[in-house]
Structure formats: structure tokens, C-alpha cells
Amino acid sequence: MDTFTSLLLGFISIVLINNLVFTKFLGTCPYLGVSGRLDMAFGMGLAVTFVVTMAGLLTWMIDHLVLIKLHLEITRYVCYIIVIAGAVQLVEMYLRKFFPPLYESFGIFLPLITTNCVILGMCLFLNLWGIDNIVEAVVLSMGSGIGFTMAICIMAGIRENLVFAEAPKALQGAPITLITAGILTLAFMGFSGMIR
């Protein structure tokens, strides 16, 4: 299998088949918290994609160029968290400067990208899956971000229409959202096993 095919397969795999939100249940907090409106969900997805791509690249570099050479694997978590927090701060400043309405509407969820498990999870998966190629690391990180964007946008699209649905009183609001999330996950389980 040549490099390009394996990269493409890895990308499709992380977006559709091993989507971190649907199969690993990571990043559920913004997935349910910011998926009320499609435009906000898309913005959140882009912010997460940016952060996870940057964090994936940087952590892979730090891991392979510094930590493994100095036998400091034990500090992996701390280093990763520093990188992620720094990247989120950058995104926050950028959004505040250029997209103030988006910044306002994200509220607390923007700094909370720091604790978004998709990001730390992806950085750790890169290590766990033994990715030893920087291009592949970047492609996979970006794919996980795009997968998250896709998941949160599908969810937001459904929820925008769900507002008009006549759900039973006991299920209105959060319960019907959680049921929707479950069914959505179930649907995406149909892809499982196609690649990897």
C-alpha cells in the first residue's frame, strides 16, 4: 500500500469509522453543550479542528524529538496539557479579536476546549497507535477534528429541527438530545470494521 492510500484510509477511518465522538465517546461536553445552533456548532468544530491539529503536530514533535530521546515519557501528560492549553489560549485571543460575536456566544465553552477529551485523547492515541510518521500524525489529528465537526454539525442540524418536534413533556430538552445522540451513535456503528 503506498503512502497516499494509507493516509487517505487513515483519514476516512478517523472521520467516519473510528470517529472519536461516536465510538470513543470523547468530547461529549461541547458535543451536547454547543450543538444548539448550526452556525455555533460549525464554529466550535473549526476551533476544535484547529486546536487538535496544532496540538497533534506539536505533541508528536515533542514526544519524538524530546521526550522519547530523553526518556521522559512520564511527563507526557503534563507536556501535552501545556501544549493544548497554549493552543486554546491562542484560539481564544484570535476569536476575540476577529469574531467577537462568536466569542461571546461560545462563552465558557471556548476555554473549555482545553479540557475537551477529543484533543488530549487524540494526542495520546497517536502515541498508543504507534504513529511514527509526522505527516500521518497531522492527517489523523486533523481528521479527528473534522470528525468532531461533522458529529457536532449533524447533531446541531437535528436539534434545530427537534425544537419544532412535539416530544413528550418528560423527554423535552436534555433527555431527547441524549436519546438522539445515542441513535446517531448507533447509526455510525454501521461503519465499524470497514477499515482497521
Partner: protein, 291 residues
């Protein structure tokens, strides 16, 4: 031996420390540059208003914290005066910053517990051994004979961020030296015993009971309850009846007025003073026996 081990530990952990330090420093520098390049001009008034606020983030104004209230009040001057802990002084300061006229009632609101029964004054019919919380205890009938009184499990104490509330002998007691008037306790009380009252002149007079039972029933279950005898309403028109309990109308209330007559006439001693240096509650037994 120990010293050698410690120094070994230090030497071995040095690379980790240096790596993390360099990493942190690198990000600090990047963020510093970014914060300079991406600086956003905020209205300096917002920062000034934030400085004038007490900055305790109590949430009494209905906003997430002092900074979001500052932002809201600059945008919407109508919201002036929502800061309970800051009170009038704070509102006046904000009005000055925003170039507004502030005319509001000058008195800070403070929580008053409308119950004065300690454990010894009450009647219990069973022993409650469930979750130690007023919210769950009040859901069970018959934990305490009185359906209206303070349960003393301290939901309000948990709600208080300022260590200003304590359960003393089974009764929630406010420490007015520490209280900021943030209203958290009045929201926490499942029996709505804690009401916010303008604390005029340091001490206010309070009918410290909420029982809507008839006088006979109240007396049967509590030594210090309001028995709806209406004696106080005859002494001063500040007092009025709300069902079977006397209440003080704080709109008519002025601190200079003498309430000694009503205070002394009350057969169960339920009329008490509350405030920073309130006199001790009257001992009820003397009159209760006579009446």
C-alpha cells in the same frame, strides 16, 4: 544515605524539570507576543465598574460573576443597584463612573431567619436519620411537629460562601458581621424562612416565626412560636397579621421608633431584635406560664 538518595532524585528529575520549564517558557513567550498583537480594546468603563464592585462573584445580581455584571451594567444602566453586597455605596460609585444619577433606597438588605426556636423549644415526634439536608427532611411529614420552623440541617450554611451562617442549638443564626447580603441562603431554605429585610440602624425588630397554625396548635408544638394573639398589632401599626402570624411591615418601619411595648407585651417572646449587636432574645418561659 538519605542525603545521597535525595540528591540522586534531584539530579534524575532535572531533565524533566528543564524540559517542562522550557516548554512552558516557550508558550509563555508565544502567548505574550500574541496577546500584544491581538489586543482588543475594551471599554475602560467596564474595567472601572469592575474595580468598584466587591469582586466576590456571589451571583446575587443574577449574573455569572462581577465581571459579567460590570459588562451588563455598562450596556444597560437600568441594571444599576443589583449588587446586594456592594449596596448603596457601590451603586453610587458605578453611577458616578457611568455619569448617572442614582436614587435608591439607602438600606442594605440582610437575611432574617423567621424562626427563633432552638432544639429545646421545639417538639419532635420522630427521629429523622435520613440525609442531613433540610430539602430532604422537609419532604418527610412529621420530622418536626412544626411544619414551618427551621429544621437546622444547614442547607443555608452550605449555601453561604462567607461563613456567615451557623446552626446554633438547631437554629440557623446569621452572623451579621460577616454577612454580605448575597441572598444565597434565602434561596437555599426549602421552607422560605429566610427573607431579605432592609437592616435599618443596625438592628431591626423581627417577628421570628412563620407558623400558620392556630395559636393553640402553635403553642402545643413550640414554646416560642407566634400564637396570633394580635397584641403587637394593637401597640404599633408596623405590625400586621398575615394569616396566623404577625409580620413587620418594613416600609413603615423606622429605627428610631420605640417598640419596647410590643417587644415586652409579646406573650411568647417571638418578637426579637436581629442585627449586628442585637440584644439577646427574651426568655419566653416567664410570660408563657402566665399567659
Amino acid at each position: 544515605m538519605e542525603i545521597i538518595l535525595l540528591s540522586n532524585l534531584f539530579v534524575e528529575s532535572l531533565p524533566a524539570g528543564i524540559t517542562l520549564f522550557v516548554l512552558g517558557l516557550g508558550f509563555a513567550i508565544i502567548l505574550l507576543i500574541a496577546s500584544q498583537k491581538l489586543r482588543v480594546e475594551v471599554d475602560p468603563k467596564i474595567e472601572q465598574v469592575h474595580q468598584a464592585l466587591p469582586k466576590i462573584d456571589c451571583g446575587a445580581c443574577g449574573f455569572a460573576g462581577c465581571s459579567s455584571y460590570a459588562k451588563a451594567v455598562v450596556a444597560e444602566p437600568k441594571l444599576l443597584g443589583k449588587c446586594a453586597p456592594g449596596g448603596t455605596a457601590c451603586a453610587a460609585k458605578i453611577a458616578e463612573i457611568l455619569n448617572l444619577q442614582f436614587a435608591g433606597s439607602g438600606l442594605p438588605l440582610r437575611p432574617i431567619v423567621h424562626c427563633r426556636a432552638h432544639t429545646a423549644d421545639r417538639t419532635y415526634i420522630g427521629r429523622y436519620t435520613g440525609i442531613e439536608s433540610c430539602t430532604s427532611a422537609t419532604a418527610i411529614p412529621g420530622v418536626m411537629m412544626c411544619k414551618f420552623g427551621c429544621l437546622g440541617f444547614g442547607d443555608c450554611v452550605d449555601a453561604c460562601k462567607f461563613d456567615a451562617l451557623h446552626i446554633i442549638n438547631g437554629l440557623a443564626t446569621v452572623d451579621y458581621e460577616k454577612c454580605t447580603g448575597c441572598t444565597a441562603c434565602s434561596k437555599a431554605c426549602p421552607r422560605n424562612l429566610i427573607k431579605m429585610v432592609p437592616l435599618a440602624g443596625g438592628n431591626v425588630i423581627v417577628v421570628a416565626c412563620s407558623s400558620q397554625e392556630t395559636g393553640k396548635d402553635t403553642r402545643a408544638m413550640c414554646r416560642v412560636g407566634c400564637i396570633a394573639c394580635k397584641l403587637c398589632t394593637k401597640q404599633s401599626d408596623v405590625f400586621s397579621m398575615n394569616g396566623n402570624v404577625a409580620v413587620v411591615d418594613y416600609n413603615k418601619y423606622s429605627p428610631g421608633e420605640a417598640f419596647e411595648a410590643a417587644y415586652n407585651k409579646c406573650p411568647t417572646g417571638v418578637i426579637v431584635y436581629r442585627g449586628k449587636n442585637a440584644p439577646a432574645d427574651r426568655v419566653p418561659a416567664e410570660k408563657a406560664a402566665a399567659g
